[in-house]
Each structure stands twice: as C-alpha cells, then as structure tokens.
C-alpha cells in the first residue's frame, strides 16, 4: 500500500506536463478549434516523439506496457491545457482491442494505434442492427467523429471495429459547444464491422479507459482553472487591493481546492483499482467520472466568475475550460447515471 506516485510515474507526469504546457498553447488550440478540433502537429509529436499514444498498450504490440495510472497522468496533463487531441476515442479503442481482441486483432491494430497512425472514436450504448457482420444504425455525439478513421461500437456483449472511411458509412460533422472535441454523427448502412473476440472484455476495457480519461482530463482542467485564477487574483487590483486578498474570494478558491483534492484521489483510486483488478473498480470508476466532472464544472464556472467581465469574453481562455467541463459532464453517462450505479451497488437496483 503506497498511494503515491513512483519515481517513474512522477517523471512521466513532469514530462507530459511540460510537453502540453509548451505545445498545446492557446493559440494552437484556437487554430484547431477553427478547423476540426485536432491539433495534428501536437498529435504527431505526442505519438511519435514522446511515444505516448501507446502508453496503455502492451509492449509486444508497440505500446509502452504501462497501465491506467500512467494513462491518467497523460490525460490529466492534456486536460490542463484543454489540448485539441483525439485522446478519448484513442484510449477507448486501444483498451477494447488490448483486452478483448484476438491475438491477430491485437497484432493488426495495436501497433498502428500506438504509432498514432489512426484516429479513433467510440459510440456508447447505441441502437444498431447487425446482419452478416454488416452494421446499420445512427451514432450521434461521436467525439472527433468527423476526423476519425475507426469507430468502436458495441451492443450487449458484442463489440466491433468499423472503418469510417469504408463503404456504407456517412459522417456529418457538427458545430459543437466544446470546439476542442467536436461531435459528429455517423450513419452506418450495412457497413462492414470487425467483431472483437471477447466483447465483454473489450467493452469493459473501453469504458474503464474512457471514464478514467475523462475524469483525469477533468482533474487537470480543474487544477488549471484554480492555478490560473489564483495567479490572476494576485495580479488584479480592485478597491485598491489584490482581489485575492478578499476573504470571500479566498474562500471560493479554497472550495475549489477542496473539491480538486478529492477529484485527485478519485482519479488515481479508479486507475489503480482497474490496474490491480480490485473489487472496487466499478464503484471507483463511477465515482471518479461523476465527481471529477462536477468538480471541473464548478471550478470552470468559478474561473469565469472570479475573473469578472474578462472571464466571459471569447478572447480569454476561461470558456475553453468551461465548455470542456460541460462536455465531460455528459460524455459517457451523466453524473446522475453514474451516481445511480453507485447507489445500485450499495442499495440494490432501483425499483
């Protein structure tokens, strides 16, 4: 029992923080927002120079052989800069294949995913029909869906990979509130799906990775809103005083820190629990997703409020955090749904 980062984990954290702070600048992110929400140069450096696209994938297939804790470190650092990166679909499909793919499927897909060659998206709980391995259905709210090569879909205990550039697929891009992760709707009309060998394992792996990714992004984002607001509060003078000297302002920042510290426990508890195969893993995942998303939203809202007028301008970055926070709240199940899962675990299923 040692609930602190190892030296290696601390080093990864430092590296990725530095990488995103240097590269995922507001200017570059805004450029990506005006296009398809992906900073391709960032994605390329991320995958190729740092080898981070394979962080949670097995070494024999080109990955780094690390676990959810390390993946969370990466997502936390990406979230802290609201980086325009197709990370969510990437980690979901990667874990789906790593945990539920056949050896052949792993050998086919994982090296390409680890190399960042493919952009992926995932649909959760869709309605679909399947006939002879051909899939039909409409899949809305696909993160980075208009830019994705691959789609992970699942239904019941079955999971498939679909080539979004293939036949029978049409994709419509949407203007999305969070422009760093725009949604698209894919319509499949008898598109060829490649079924993963162990659907249950694939789905469990994908969801765990997705929830941890979102929770960790939220943690990083929330901490960034706190750090930036603290810095602003020491610069900005009103009524002849640093605004950070006003007790009400201080207490609001303290409230942010109180929630963030719990969010930090939540993310790494969930990541550890998954890595260690703990009985608590499901409760940890639902707790982390629900709690971190709410924390981020609260903090990002406070960031706007505590910056005053400048905070709700387009020019200031506060709205990037705020919109990302809102988007994380609803992605892969909203807070009420996740809390209901926790309630079911302690109270039994709902009536």
């Amino acid at each position: 029992m040692e609930f602190a980062f190892t030296d290696e984990q601390a080093m990864i954290a430092e590296t990725v923080r530095g990488f995103f702070a240097e590269n995922a600048t507001s200017e570059r992110t805004r450029k990506a927002m005006a296009a398809d929400g992906i900073d391709r140069e960032l994605w390329s450096s991320f995958a190729n120079e740092l080898g981070l696209a394979g962080i949670g994938l097995p070494e024999e297939h080109g990955g780094a052989g690390l676990g959810m804790v390390e993946m969370a470190l990466v997502a936390e650092a990406a979230g802290a800069q609201v980086a325009a990166l197709p990370l969510l679909g990437h980690v979901m499909i990667g874990q789906a294949i790593a945990r539920g793919g056949s050896e052949a499927q792993k050998a086919e897909w994982l090296p390409r995913l680890a190399a960042g060659e493919l952009i992926a998206t995932a649909a959760w709980a869709p309605k679909l029909s399947v006939a002879d391995g051909r899939i039909s259905g409409t899949f809305p709210f696909l993160p980075h869906g208009a830019s994705a090569d691959l789609l992970l879909v699942h239904s019941g205990s079955d999971a498939w990979i679909v080539d979004l550039k293939g036949a029978g697929v049409s994709v419509e891009a949407h203007v999305t509130m969070d422009q760093t992760r725009p949604f698209a709707t894919a319509t499949l009309d008898g598109a060829q799906g490649e079924q993963l060998a162990d659907g249950d394992a694939a789905i469990a792996g994908a969801l765990a990775a997705g929830w941890i990714c979102l929770a960790a992004e939220a943690l990083g984002g929330a901490q960034a809103t706190l750090d930036r607001t603290v810095a602003y509060s020491k610069e900005r003078v009103q009524f002849g005083r640093q605004i950070g000297s006003f007790q009400a302002y201080k207490h609001r920042l303290a409230d942010m820190m109180i929630e963030i510290e719990q969010a930090r426990s939540a993310v790494y508890w969930a990541a550890c629990a998954v890595d260690e195969g703990s009985d608590e893993a499901q409760v940890a995942l639902h707790s982390a997703k629900a709690f971190c998303a709410d924390t981020y939203f609260m903090c990002a809202g406070n960031m706007i409020q505590l910056h005053g007028g400048i905070g709700f301008t387009w020019e200031h970055d506060a709205h990037l955090f705020f919109k990302r926070a809102r988007s994380i709240q609803t992605l892969l199940g909203d807070g009420q749904w996740h809390r209901e899962q926790v309630a079911s675990a302690v109270l039994g299923a709902a009536a």
Partner: protein, 392 residues
C-alpha cells in the same frame, strides 16, 4: 395587502393588451418574439417609435415629457402584457429605464425638455459608460478624465461593457473632472453624443460567440459644458441613484422573459421524457418556485413608494435573478443532455437554452458581481462593517 387588480386596472390591461397584440400580429409580426438585443435593429427602432407615437413608450413618466402618469399597478400590467404579446426587448432600455428616470430626478427643466421627449418618442437610443478595464466592480476607481476647455468638456479614457454602444445615439459617461481627485469624489456625470470622431466603439466577442458588449474609447471626445447631470464633482451621487432605477418596473418585463426561458426548459423536459425523472422534477419545481418568488419580491419592491430607499426585497433582487437564471441555464442543459451541445446550423450560434447557459454566466458579473451584491447586502442591509479599501 392585495394581489388582485382593480376593475379599472383590468380595463387598462384589456386596453394595452389589445393594442400590443394587434401590433404584434399586424405591422410588427416580423419581430414578434425576437430573442436577443442584436438582431433587426432598424425594425426595432421603428417599433419603439410606434410605441412613442401611441404613448406607450414610457408610461410611468409625466405626461408633459411623453408619459402617461401611469400608476405602479398600470406599469406592472403593461410590462406583463408587453412580454405576453411577444413584443421584443426594448433596445433603448437604458434610455427608457435608466437615463430617463435619472434625468427626471437630476436634470434641469432645460435638460428634461432636451432629452426626455426624444427618448419617449423612440428617437434617441442610449448606452452607459460606467465600467472601465480597471474599475469593473469598483466605480470609484474611474480613470476616464474630463476637463473643461473652451466651454466644452473634453473627455479621454476607456469604457467597457458598453452594451449596444454600436447603435446608440447617446452615452452617459462617469468621468473624473477634478484632477488629482480619488475615489467617489471629483466625478461628473456627462451626457455625450455618440456620433463624433472622439468616440470609437469596438465589439467584444463573448463566450456564446456573439458580441453584445463593446469597448468604447474616448479620445478628446466632447460635450457641451451644460451636458452634465448634477453639479461638477457630484457624479457619484447621480450614478448611485441611477443604479437604483435598475430595480424599477422593468423587472416585471424581464421576468416575463425568464418565464419564457423556464417554459422552454419545461417543454424540453416534456418532449424528451425527462419530465418523468423525479430528480429533474425537483429541480424544475425549484426553478418554478424561484421565479414565482421573484415576481412577488418585485411586487413588494414596487409597492413601496420610495424606490431609492433600502429595503430587503430590492437589495437582494439582483443576486436573486442572476443566480436563478444561471441555474436555469444549467438545468436547461441537463434536461436537453448532449443534444444541447450541438448547434443547429453550421456556425457557432445557439438556440435559446444553450445560449442562456452560456450568456447567463455574465448575469452574475455585470451590474455588480454576486460578490459585490453580497457586500452591499451585508453592509447596507445588515449594517456590517465595510470592506476596507487598500492603498490604490
């Protein structure tokens, strides 16, 4: 204590409702229910001039300046019927609800005659020059300077959050007219023409992608020596009185807009099935109760006779509605779910509820942040010690 309206009031209601509905289904049907403050400006100017012609523009003002000497009950009724008819938000609400009443209170007869009939006729649109980049919530820290030169005030400085400045005819500017003065002393309240080379307006894009607010730059901007309310150096007093007018009858009209927004949430919940969710039902009930209590708070506030007096309902009203509306924005998103995060068209522009969610973040900031509101409530309402100023 009585909530119901008298038969005479109900007759008045019938009269104004009939007129408003005729207009909104007739000549002005094209701008009925238009939601924001930025669209269809020329048509809305025509509409406000129609209001003026028919004597419905500023009904609470004295008849001699274009009003009807309407009672508070009549003003309440008109505000309600105005919103009920789907008449658009007044683009000149600053002229009608802030500048006008302040001129009525502080202006000379000559000033009243110069400005009030023009406002009432819908021919003169106003904006406000209060906030500055370093004096957001701290009006006493105003840096804009005014000096008297050749019988004119010459003004230099920068104002911010001047909503609607880009189509306004007039601006009132709080400026420091005594060199070396500090804090609330030495300020003057100037009434300036917008149409002059010394005034430049630049839009500020907000988080919803629109630009309702502006920065206004004053560079040797000028007005006549007598284009000032109150005496030189007494601008603080005038400015504070003006803020009190924000709690006037217009709140009832604003509430009808809130009603429409809450109804949009209710309709969305019914349409997508969330109306059956007990957790959502509790939240909608809270919003409904909050809106009703705002209405009765406003009626309590208006039923007092001295609008400038400190009373609890008035003092707490701003933070109440701003917080209520921000919460409603969040509730709307919760009810709509992910669908609310996708814009209907191909540019960054949002329907009512997502736009409410984004724009309402400013409600708790402009016109005194929620933090400033709580200071005011604690200090003026409860007599607690004032926050100390630091060394500027």
């Amino acid at each position: 204590m009585k909530l119901g309206f008298s038969p005479a009031d109900e007759a008045f209601r019938a009269e104004c409702a009939a007129w408003l509905q005729a207009e909104m289904t007739g000549d002005f049907a094209d701008i009925r229910g238009i939601p924001n403050l930025c669209d269809a400006i020329p048509r809305r100017k025509e509409w406000e001039q129609r209001l003026g012609q028919a004597g419905w523009s500023c009904i609470g003002w004295p008849r001699e300046w274009g009003g009807r000497d309407a009672t508070i009950a009549q003003q309440v009724i008109f505000a309600e019927e105005y919103a009920r008819a789907g008449a658009p938000n007044r683009i000149n609400h600053i002229g009608v609800e802030l500048a006008g009443p302040t001129i009525l209170a502080f202006g000379s007869e000559e000033q009243k005659a110069r400005y009030l009939p023009e406002i009432a006729a819908g021919r003169q649109i106003w904006c406000q020059g209060y906030s500055e980049p370093n004096a957001g919530s701290d009006l006493a820290n105003v840096k804009t300077k005014a000096r008297l030169e050749d019988g004119q005030w010459v003004v230099n400085g920068q104002k911010v959050w001047t909503s609607l400045a880009h189509y306004s005819d007039m601006i009132f500017v709080v400026a420091r007219s005594e060199e070396g003065s500090a804090g609330p002393k030495g300020l003057s309240f100037l009434l300036m023409d917008m149409d002059q080379p010394g005034i430049e307006v630049r839009p500020i894009r907000q988080i919803n992608g629109e630009a309702e607010f502006n920065e206004t730059f004053l560079t040797d901007a000028r007005c006549a020596a007598d284009a000032m309310l109150g005496a030189a150096g007494e601008g603080w007093k005038v400015a504070m009185a003006l803020l009190a007018f924000e709690r006037g009858v217009s709140t009832l009209g604003q509430q009808m807009q809130f009603r429409n927004e809450l109804d949009a949430v209710i309709d969305a919940a019914k349409a997508n099935g969330k109306a059956a969710d007990p957790v959502v039902r509790q939240k909608i009930a809270r919003a409904e109760i909050g809106l009703r209590l705002m209405r009765y708070g406003a009626l309590r506030m208006l039923s007092g006779t001295d609008l400038a007096a400190i009373d609890g309902a008035a003092l707490t009203y701003k933070i109440q509605w701003a917080t209520w509306r921000r919460n409603l924005g969040e509730l709307g998103m919760e009810v709509l779910g992910q669908a609310a995060e996708v814009a209907p068209g191909d540019h960054y522009s949002w329907p009512t509820l997502p736009n409410l969610f984004l724009f309402s973040r400013s409600d708790t900031i402009y016109g005194g942040t929620n933090q400033i509101q709580r200071n005011l409530i604690a200090e003026r309402g409860l007599g607690l010690p004032r926050e100390p100023r630091g060394q500027a």
